[in-house]
Symmetry: C2
Subunit: 209 residues, 2 copies
């Protein structure tokens, strides 16, 4: 008996393709987090996600492509950016919400573990993950030059994550609540933009929301 995903022979619908794609991304992430990048292979993902290997080759081309797609999914805000080009705080909250989730922290942990053996993987991860987040924030910074905007975005990320993120990586601090994320983001935006170490807003921009 032949059973296809569509229940009949023929090309899957767009919805079926999307469902399959999300299932594949879930398998990729799980293999990386639970067993490490070294365990990731087309054979493994094809088997666990119940898709044809040629479909995977067509979607991802290579193992690094699977990694990039899994990282990209963690940074979904990159696609669903809010309209205002000036809302640094909203962008900071979006980034922190994505990257402080347990799944994203576990993924970062797996990348750190595998990095010494897979330096190219680490480079791909950085470009499609943290560096993309930095550029996303930099675009929304008020500074004049691109260099200043990137510096400010790096400062903002360091303040939002920093030592707190170290505690998340070694698992001694639980995932933050949305309220905690907002507070971290507000404090970091204030200091990065205005240079105010203590939480007492000087800008309307930051006080909004």
């Amino acid at each position: 008996m032949i059973v296809t995903m569509t229940g009949k022979r023929g090309r899957p619908t767009a919805e079926e393709r999307e469902e399959r794609h999300q299932r594949v991304l879930g398998v990729i992430s799980r293999v990386i987090v639970e067993e490490g990048y070294g365990a990731l292979s087309f054979d493994r993902v094809a088997g666990e996600a119940r898709v044809a290997k040629r479909t995977l080759y067509s979607d991802f081309e290579c193992r690094a492509g699977m990694l990039r797609a899994a990282v990209r999914r963690q940074h979904a805000y990159l696609d669903a950016a809010p309209g205002s080009a000036e809302d640094v705080l909203a962008a900071a909250i979006a980034v922190a919400t994505s990257l402080l989730r347990e799944e994203a922290v576990a993924f970062q942990r797996a990348v750190i573990s595998a990095a010494p053996l897979h330096p190219q993987m680490a480079t791909e991860f950085y470009a499609s993950g943290p560096r993309a987040a930095q550029l996303f924030l930099a675009e929304r910074m008020p500074h004049e030059t691109a260099g200043e905007r990137e510096d400010a975005a790096e400062t903002l990320l360091s303040l939002m994550f920093g030592e707190y993120y170290r505690r998340r990586l070694i698992g001694i601090t639980p995932a933050p609540t949305p309220e905690e994320i907002r507070m971290r983001a507000e404090r970091a935006v204030r200091l990065a933009l205005d240079g105010q170490p203590v939480a007492s807003g000087r800008r309307q921009l930051v006080d909004a929301g």
Copy 2:
């Protein structure tokens, strides 16, 4: 034939004990970095460092004790603190110099990898490492209350390490030169103390050195 460390029967000298202790700490660090905390055991360390197990039990009591001693060695500045209680910059440089070294980054990487399986180890690591560094810096902060001093120290660490440390952990940035460490520390101290995102000193304190 019986061969003792001293070449004759009797208690080892203080110098011999110190040499042995450093050799043991080197073995502990290497096992953790190369094979993970799960591979660390008294049998393993006794064999590789050529010391009696009862000596190890006497020195470290338990496996966590071996970890603490290895972490503590990375933070040697805690013992050799400079005299001035106000020299935040010198303290920041000492912390950054210790923790950005390749050995310390590799150690942190190993702790992150092992943390999900060994949560108690992660807690011990944090207390004897990063948290000790934070308190060391907090003692030198000019703020009035202990809470403010600890907050300022956490901000300083986040700015000095932050996203840069993420790049160190995934191995895409080489170990910094002493000059790069000084620049990172100066910039972080300025922003943490004075709230100046750009490098233009306002305080004598920071400009000194």
